[in-house]
């Protein structure tokens, strides 16, 4: 299919997302939320909280997007492309399932990156500390946050797309959202019970849980604790990367082109 663009599925998916317009509302909402949410705090009593509250709001919005709009779009995209026979058409033309998977996921990774971009913009331009040394540490922390967030988002969206091609849209939406919920909050709640247990079964369950709480650096931003040291950052990144690889392999196994 030489006359067909090599990234035609990505372009088609992207055109479909943009034609539905909600993506622009997502980005507009990111800016508005970071601007308006801090106004709900008692900032008049203590104006110093205004700047970290704005940074916190920007990242809360990014996590909210990863709970809602992003997995919904992933599941809908996978389901729509399979139902319409586009995946089968391209498969017959020689596009392998992993290439399709990559192109569809890339169409969503761009929007996850855009949400991270808005959060970075808010943190680096509007809430950057005035003192130079503090600002440098703040910038490193924000970049670390962006990288870890993306390591969580990318495989979850890939899984959402793959599940969308296999099962009902609602399941394809709920699975990545549920994994994110358990990884962000469940793992923290269960840490004393499972992580500290001497029983091998409990420890294994603890290890098997998604550990997305490692990517949540909001408290470090709010309390200006500075960036993670490089060994902590790389070990967190490695854990999230390995989890991401496992989810991606699972997603690829579930991916289906047949309409």
């Amino acid at each position: 299919m030489k006359s067909i663009r090599p990234w035609s599925l990505f372009r088609l998916a992207q055109a479909g997302i943009m034609s539905r317009s909600s993506c622009w509302l997502l980005l507009l909402g990111a800016g508005l939320f970071a601007w308006l949410a801090p106004l709900l705090t008692p900032w008049e009593e203590n104006p110093q909280i205004f700047q970290p509250a704005r940074a916190q709001a920007a990242w809360i919005y990014a996590w909210l997007a990863l709970f809602t709009w992003l997995p919904y779009q992933a599941s809908a995209l996978g389901a729509r492309m399979r139902r319409d026979g586009v995946l089968e058409h391209l498969r017959a033309g020689g596009m392998k399932p992993w290439q399709q998977c990559l192109q569809l996921s890339s169409a969503l990774w761009i929007w996850a990156a855009a949400v991270v971009g808005v959060a970075l913009l808010v943190c680096l331009v509007f809430t950057r500390p005035a003192r130079a040394e503090e600002a440098a540490l703040w910038a490193v922390l924000v970049c670390q946050y962006g990288a870890l967030y993306f390591l969580c988002a990318a495989p979850l969206l890939l899984l959402g797309v793959c599940l969308g091609t296999r099962t009902a849209e609602v399941i394809a939406f709920l699975v990545p959202a549920g994994l994110l919920l358990s990884g962000l909050f469940g793992a923290v709640w269960l840490a004393p019970l499972l992580g500290g247990s001497s029983l091998a079964v409990f420890k294994s369950v603890w290890l098997a849980l998604p550990h997305y709480h490692l990517a949540d650096l909001t408290p470090r931003l709010v309390f200006k604790m500075g960036p993670l040291n490089s060994s902590d950052f790389f070990s967190s990144a490695m854990i999230l990367l390995l989890q991401g690889v496992a989810l991606s392999i699972l997603g690829r196994c579930l991916y289906r082109t047949r309409s």
Binding site: M1, K2, S3, I4, R5, S8, R11, L12, Q14, A15, G16, S19, R20, R80, R83, D84, G85, V86, E88, H89, R91, A92, G93, G94, T257, R258, S259
Partner: protein
């Protein structure tokens, strides 16, 4: 034709699907090749009653299923247009083509759209059924048109088109793309005057007529089914 044939089907090649749970898979044979079939560039019609295995045959030729018996080698770029293939209704036809085609191909797609009187600025979901079908026909023609040795498989592509557009499309098939092999499933035999051959499925056997055996392809079809 046989010298440049793209598709060779050996006698005994079987098409169908496997059904049942993984531990108890059963072959469901639908079509068997009765005599060797060779298809080269040109328009080949596949006409058969409903439920005889036309779509299964097409899917297998497209590489989406494997034959139950025999081997299938296709030294061609395959373009498969399933009956259920749809373009995203939220897109305009223009943005749909821009997603698929590079510059030169895009210009050809726009010209063909103008010839077929298709509005590229209108959302696909707001087009009539016939016009939505035109979008896919243009995708098929331009996608296959650039490559020599393309094998175009289409499942009922004329459904929903008016008589005038049918005539335009069949004229296009007859005239354009000398290197393209088209295998088209259809029921509207009366709208095709020029075709290279006709295939049909009669009592589970794939039958091929390289030439008309009567005045029309309908006569040929009826002769093969008899």
């Amino acid at each position: 034709m046989s010298a440049s044939a793209i598709l060779h089907l050996e006698k005994g090649t079987c098409f169908g699907y496997r059904s049942g749970p993984p531990w108890k898979r059963q072959d469901r044979r639908l079509v068997e090749v009765g005599a060797p079939v060779k298809l080269g560039p040109g328009l080949h019609l596949l006409v058969a009653p409903n439920g005889t295995g036309k779509t299964t045959l097409l899917k297998t030729l497209a590489g989406l299923n494997t034959p139950l018996e025999g081997k299938l080698v296709l030294p061609a770029a395959v373009h498969y247009f399933a009956d259920e293939l749809k373009a995203d209704p939220e897109l305009t036809a223009g943005s749909f083509f821009r997603a698929f085609f590079k510059k030169g191909s895009l210009v050809r797609a726009e010209k063909l759209a103008a010839d077929l009187r298709l509005d590229l600025r209108k959302q696909i979901g707001k087009l009539s059924r016939g016009n939505r079908q035109k979008v896919l026909l243009i995708l098929a023609e331009i996608g296959a048109g650039a490559g020599e040795g393309s094998f175009l498989l289409m499942d009922e592509p004329l459904t929903g088109l008016d008589a005038e557009t049918r005539a335009q499309v069949t004229a296009l098939w007859a005239g354009a793309g000398a290197g393209i092999t088209r295998l088209v499933v259809m029921h509207e035999l009366e709208s095709v005057a020029q075709a290279s051959s006709l295939l049909t499925i009669a009592r589970g056997q794939l039958k091929h007529a390289a030439e008309k055996t009567g005045a029309t392809w309908m006569d040929t079809y009826q002769a093969l089914q008899a």
